[in-house]
Symmetry: C2
Subunit: 134 residues, 2 copies
Amino acid sequence: MIGRLNHVAIAVPDLEAASAQYRDTLGAVVRPPQDEPDHGVTVVFIELPNTKIELLYPLGENSPIAGFLEKNPAGGIHHICYEVEDILAARDRLKASGARVLGSGEPKIGAHGKPVLFLHPKDFNGCLVELEQV
Amino acid sequence: MIGRLNHVAIAVPDLEAASAQYRDTLGAVVRPPQDEPDHGVTVVFIELPNTKIELLYPLGENSPIAGFLEKNPAGGIHHICYEVEDILAARDRLKASGARVLGSGEPKIGAHGKPVLFLHPKDFNGCLVELEQV
């Protein structure tokens, strides 16, 4: 069911410093920051040959990243995203297995403009898992 | 400098349950467990089309995963691994930038039989980063 690893998302306390480190020290391709007000984050995409790293920084009130950075002031891996072909079929299969889908259970449009869902970390080895329909 | 994301490593409290979940619920290709006594882990590789997930479970005394699971009983993402072409050149560039290399600073042979180094999480946004020479 799951396909490619679409991205690994890392919450960072200093977006400029983290971008400079990936660009200058690690020598990666780093895109300019993008504000995503609907998701409460500013995102910097790092393009690796086979997948992406997303650096996440809080934007506005009630950012989903703010609480994470309070608990993890140095930053940390926030979630991983797997691609699926049919997000509703994936959701129904997961729910039938007893896994909990976060929020209303209906897909939202994610930062890439595609339908996404998040799964409960307690059901997936402590990892917040995003599914994105591609 | 960094190339592909080689893998994301997830420490899990129940290797059999986590393997079954990735195979049966998420429909991924899951390989049989491999004991890696030199690294104090039993590993299950999950092969995605573009990268791998490594499920890690403690093996023997002094496993590097045991303390992580004590702090994170549900499991969690333990590290991410980037590929590099020349691990000694990568190490020297990182050290020159002020980043700390864990252990002796000399590459060890990792679970894939290739030279690896680990970088200090405090220098990389709270993420434990492995570099593997490919």
